[in-house]
């Protein structure tokens, strides 16, 4: 016999999944529908460029016509049109569950924002017949769905996304350590997090992935409250993770806090740039469509270069 509570929770979950699906689909359908070009050159029907022959190259790829004309050995190179295996790593630690105070409850929560972002990206990849997987992590990988390209895989991703409630401490290093061996080589990892990393070294973790040839896209998501600290009065801040509470007047530290956040964003940007990681800072106040389309346009333009 099915428990009424379970039934209720299931129905809530279904509605959340449905809502997430609708939002993700709407979001993606409205976007530019285009293929992701593989940046890996390989065998394909689509010519990419010539290169000088070097021993080891397949002889069958030598363009004899060019040899005839120039008396030089050139090898044809083709765009390798492959299916991308994309793993979406969504930070589901406690800090991602930040809810603005009641007076601002109309705003989109950070977790909701990140959920929709992850769902939309999954849908986007699956729609292009790319494989999409999902890893939910806090201080470890909590849920993991391996990348699949079946359209029905989207439902699995949605189900995991909707069922997850943010909790626990952030431990990016631990989570990556757990999953990195299982990530397919030369795959794409999209990391969505608020990057409130107390102990982790982001650079080290990104380097680890980049060293394995994994392309990394980093979405740094913050609520405006977290960026600006707009609160007034004597406030006791209780941590969503394991930090002890602290009572203070935000007025007194606002400047230094903002400075710290700005420094953090700037530092992350520099690290990502140095490692060839796409870094995108998003605030939940920005419309997700706008943020996503802006990112895709930027990525496409990069690819064309």
């Amino acid at each position: 016999m099915v428990d009424s509570n379970q039934l209720l929770q299931s129905s809530e979950l279904f509605s959340r999944v449905a809502l997430l699906k609708v939002r993700a689909k709407d979001l993606v359908e409205g976007l530019l529908s285009g293929h992701h070009r593989s940046r890996h050159k390989g065998s394909s029907v689509e010519f990419a460029e010539y290169k000088d022959y070097s021993p080891g190259d397949e002889i069958r790829h030598i363009d004899w016509k060019v040899v005839g004309k120039t008396d030089k050995y050139h090898v044809k190179q083709f765009e390798e049109s492959t299916n991308i295996k994309c793993t979406l790593m969504l930070d589901s630690s406690g800090s991602m569950g930040y809810q603005p105070p009641k007076e601002n409850s109309a705003e989109v929560s950070k977790w909701n924002y990140a959920q929709v972002l992850a769902a939309a990206l999954s849908y986007l990849f699956l729609k292009q017949f790319d494989a999409a997987g999902l890893v939910l992590f806090n201080d470890q990988a909590v849920r993991r769905i391996p990348p699949r390209s079946k359209p029905s895989h989207f439902q699995n991703i949605l189900n995991e996304l909707a069922a997850m409630e943010p909790a626990g401490n952030t431990g990016l290093g631990e989570a990556i350590g757990q999953i990195i061996e299982r990530l397919p080589g030369r795959s794409l990892v999209i990391l969505v997090s608020d990057l409130f990393l107390k102990h982790d070294d982001l650079e080290k973790n990104l380097k680890l992935m980049r060293a394995r040839g994994i392309e990394v896209v980093l979405f740094h998501v913050l609520h405006p409250d977290e960026a600006n600290l707009p609160f007034e009065g004597e406030i006791v801040f209780e941590s969503l993770e394991d930090d002890p509470p602290i009572g203070l007047d935000p007025y007194e530290i606002r400047e230094s806090y903002r400075e710290a956040i700005q420094n953090q964003i700037s530092a992350y940007g520099k690290i990502c740039a140095s490692l060839g990681v796409d870094y995108e800072f998003l605030q939940t106040s920005e419309p997700l469509e706008q943020a996503l389309s802006y990112y895709l346009l930027k990525r496409n333009s990069l690819n064309k270069q």
Binding site: S95, E234, I235, S239, L240, Y257, A260
Partner: protein, 714 residues
């Protein structure tokens, strides 16, 4: 070690500290709880700004509280003392009597403020420090010591009483004041009884006989003597101790001699060229300089010609010092037109020329219509008690056997106050009576009668002191004539031990003929023979007339009457002349009346101020004495019928202070403590007392500065 507050009422201002606290609490915002993601970032940011932001509110509160507290404390005039004992604070409710020394020595000015004013301010502050449950009484220590305020008066009334009290011109009477205080304390139910004596410790006010016996009780009466004596002695340099005014009859023209006695009060310094001036009728007449050795007196004499018959009113002044009240002394002198002399005939006779005073009377007033300035009055011994001898300048006892009972005392008083006494001997004189009864007046004792035997050489006079004031006018020929006069009988005499005398004339056998001495203000002259022809031929000699006249004038010294007219401050004046006195014009120009108590011998008690007092007769409409301080005044144009002067008792001017040991002895039975007056002005660092008003004010200013800086920074 103690902390006392001069104006503790300002301590109420400390309640104002609650104001910043209240503001702080009211403006403190309600704490809300928010679940936040980046608490570790908040903490690191907070750590950076914690030193400058978090404590600011508490610092602000602290600064504001400090400013209010500092201001209140500085206004309360705290005095921190390592040695003080917080004398005005008692562990239990106490009865306190404050004795304020308002004698004229407290008028001494130190640093522009009189000791009395310093003591009065101290007293006001001290009363303010007495807890509300303590009883306070007031007494004044100038003569006569009196109660100023009993129990029950509120602090405001006490303050008004003190404010309206001025230093008097009287001397100090600490003993009677202590008695008043003890009487007052007796009536108080409080267990702790305390007396505070605010005085300059002038020794004159601590007379042993005047002190009451202090009852022994548990706990003992606590007596705190607050010493206001100036630290540097000798600020009061000099004082005029007395003035003698006399009329000079011996000179051809009549002059008045004013002799002022000036005391050097400096303990170790000689006074040199101290200016002395004579003021008559409001004008400065003469200036002199005087030198005086330390602790001794010098005399300055002024001679001024007598013009007119009116009274001579004036004063002698010396250079200013810190106590000017004793630098001037007033006198009033009524010059005599006639020298009244009383001739007491010890051997009257119905035959005129056989009377003892026959020749004497004619020598003093040789013509029927008096051309001499001597007015002799003859009296027998029987008439003597009825005579008012104060109206005479001199008395001549001629061959008197015995005076009426106890009459020698009146004569002693007469001489003491300036009268002249001449005694001539004769067969009636009893040496035993003379030696016994008049021994105090004369420096010699009569031994025996010396008579010249038949055929022997008679006695003759020898004028030894040719420059004597009474003899210097006689030329050599006249002196020779005098020395040729024969004396048959003379009394020999022997000097008494320790008496000063001079013998300007002696007999040829070496026995004194005329013995002169002073007694009090007056002079006594003993002539060792008769002033009639019984024992010599002198009365019928031409030299007798000028000789006796000069000696009488010399003895009388021109004192018209010897009714006492120079009083001390506070001494009552008794009217003993004819007429009915009605009003007295006091030196301030106000008019007062005689006391109503004794109409036969009216008394005037309002002699509180030094100066010249003028007496007016009662007008017809105001025969009955009017109440004291009545605003009535004599008829316009009325002339005074009498004068008297009131002067300071210069004993109070003496710089000697009573020693702490002596104070302990006089106040035996009480717990005595001698304390220094500690106030904001007199607080000295060297006696362990620090006024903290300045530091507290500085603290308040710094706190306000800090508060302003913090507010500006925020």
């Amino acid at each position: 070690m103690s902390l006392n507050f001069i104006s503790p009422v300002f301590m109420l201002g400390l309640l104002g500290v609650g104001l910043p606290v209240l503001v702080h609490l009211l403006t403190k915002r309600q704490v809300t709880h928010i679940k936040f993601s980046a608490v570790y970032l908040l903490r690191s940011s907070h750590k950076k700004s914690i030193r400058r932001s978090r404590p600011n509110r508490l610092l602000l509160l602290l600064f504001r509280c400090l400013a209010v507290a500092g201001l209140s404390l500085s206004l309360a005039h705290p005095i921190f003392s390592f040695t003080g004992t917080g004398v005005f604070l008692a562990s239990k409710p106490a009865a306190n009597v404050f004795i304020l020394d308002d004698s004229y020595s407290m008028r001494l000015t130190v640093d522009g403020k009189s000791l009395f004013n310093q003591a009065a301010e101290y007293l006001t502050d001290a009363i303010g420090q007495i807890p509300a449950n303590g009883a306070v009484g007031l007494a004044l220590a100038s003569a006569p010591a009196r109660r100023l305020q009993g129990w029950g008066a509120d602090r405001q009334t006490l303050g008004q009483k003190i404010e309206s009290t001025q230093a008097s011109f009287a001397t100090t009477q600490i003993g009677p004041a202590v008695k008043e205080a003890l009487d007052l304390l007796e009536s108080s139910p409080q267990e702790i009884k305390r007396i505070f004596i605010l005085t300059d410790l002038a020794k004159n006010g601590w007379t042993e006989d005047e002190f009451p016996e202090i009852p022994s009780r548990v706990p003992p009466v606590n007596i705190n003597v607050v010493d206001f004596s100036p630290e540097s002695s000798g600020i009061n340099r000099a004082a005029i101790q007395g003035i003698e005014v006399g009329q000079e009859f011996l000179a051809n023209r009549r002059t008045v001699r004013i002799k002022a006695k000036i005391a050097n009060l400096l303990p170790e310094k000689r006074l040199s060229r101290l200016p002395v001036s004579l003021w008559v009728d409001g004008k400065k007449i003469k200036d002199r300089w005087v030198d005086a050795f330390s602790g001794l007196s010098s005399e300055v004499e002024f001679s001024i010609p007598l013009q007119g018959g009116g009274p001579l009113e004036g004063r002698v002044e010396i250079g200013e010092d810190s106590l000017n009240e004793d630098n001037r002394r007033y006198f009033i002198y009524q010059p005599e037109q006639k020298l009244n002399v009383l001739l007491v005939d010890g051997d009257p006779n119905t035959v005129a020329h056989q009377s003892e005073t026959f020749y004497l009377e004619r020598a003093l007033n040789p013509f029927a219509s008096s051309t001499s300035d001597i007015e002799p009055t003859i009296s027998t011994l029987a008439e003597l008690p009825r005579r008012d001898i104060r109206k005479f300048s001199a008395i001549i006892l001629c061959n008197v056997n015995e005076l009426p009972f106890d009459y020698e005392r009146q004569i002693e008083k007469f001489v003491l106050q300036g009268g002249g006494l001449i005694v001539s001997l004769g067969d009636k004189v009893d040496p035993g009576f003379f030696n016994k009864k008049l021994g105090a007046l004369f420096p010699v004792t009569l031994d025996a009668l010396n008579q010249v035997g038949s055929g022997d050489e008679p006695f003759r006079m020898k004028l030894k002191e040719k420059t004597h004031p009474a003899l210097k006018v006689f030329d050599a020929k006249t002196r020779q004539q005098m020395e040729a006069i024969r004396f048959h009988s003379i009394f020999s005499s022997s000097p008494r031990e320790g008496k000063n005398l001079s013998i300007p004339i002696s007999f040829s056998n070496g026995t004194p003929a005329l013995i002169e001495s002073t007694y009090g203000e007056g002079k006594t002259i003993l002539f060792a023979s008769t002033l009639d022809r019984d024992w010599n031929e002198f009365p019928i000699q031409p030299t007798f007339l000028p000789w006796i006249q000069r000696w009488v004038k010399y003895a009388a010294r021109g004192l018209g009457t010897i009714a006492r007219k120079d009083l001390m401050v506070g001494e009552a004046y008794r009217w003993e002349d004819e007429g009915e006195p009605g009003f007295v014009e006091i030196p301030t120009g106000a008019f007062k009346t005689f006391a109503a108590a004794d109409i036969n011998a009216p008394l005037f008690k309002g002699t509180a101020i030094p100066g010249v007092y003028k007496i007016y007769s009662a007008s017809k409409n105001n025969l009955k004495p009017a109440p004291e301080n009545a605003s009535t005044r004599p008829d316009l144009g009325a002339s005074p019928i009498g004068f008297f002067t009131v002067n300071l008792d210069t004993e109070e001017s003496r710089p000697q202070k009573i020693s702490p040991e002596k104070i302990q002895k006089l106040l035996a039975g009480a717990a005595v403590e001698i304390i220094e007056p500690v106030d904001s002005l007199a607080a000295q660092a060297d006696d362990g007392s620090f006024p903290l008003a300045g530091p507290f004010l500085l603290l308040a200013a710094l706190a306000l500065l800090g508060e302003g800086w913090l507010v500006r920074r925020e």
